[in-house]
Symmetry: C2
Subunit: 107 residues, 2 copies
């Protein structure tokens, strides 16, 4: 195994390294949200959020479902599985309920 092989296997890690993208993932971790609903949670433009969604989509970390005019997003638990432990380490714990906590409504 060469040093190159160690270096860059498609770099999902670099994608998860950005706070904004982790925030998006937290939002749609256990609920499906339309692009506009996701964007509404941030102080950046709709376009900027859409760009990040594209990155996450192409990395297979989220899925989209067309619903009329809307694009409904949710985390792809399958694709994110190998990285779940790290995200959990960063988010302290109980990752499955973070989205709820973010919205302020406790179960």
């Amino acid at each position: 195994m060469g040093l190159e092989a160690v270096a860059a296997p498609m770099d999902t890690l670099a994608i998860l390294a950005k706070p904004r993208r982790r925030q998006i993932l937290a939002l749609i971790w256990d609920q499906e949200l339309a692009a506009g609903e996701i964007a509404g949670n941030f102080d950046i433009t709709f376009g900027a959020v859409s760009q990040q969604l594209k990155v996450l989509r192409e990395a297979d970390l989220i899925t989209v479902r067309k619903d009329g005019n809307h694009r409904r997003y949710r985390v792809n638990k399958q694709g994110i599985a190998p990285y779940r432990a790290v995200l959990e380490a960063m988010w302290t714990s109980t990752l499955d309920h973070i989205a709820a906590a973010v919205e302020g409504d406790e179960t």
Copy 2:
């Protein structure tokens, strides 16, 4: 828990997201190497490597030991523990022997 708390807890992930730093970690995963020896494995300047070592050091991902003129580095297994699973996922397997494989000498 607010959206901010989810975002940036000191961002070790961003540090590990860079290929060069992972290459360095691989090299000193199970052997102690001097800064110059580490630099010798790359096509970048000694100074550049030293800068990356500093980043890794301040993130508590590696340790230094002064030995005369030399600074001998090695991975801090303690500090890197929470991220070990992801690195393993990226490096396929048997992370403990990657450094050896990189040097071309199989056990």
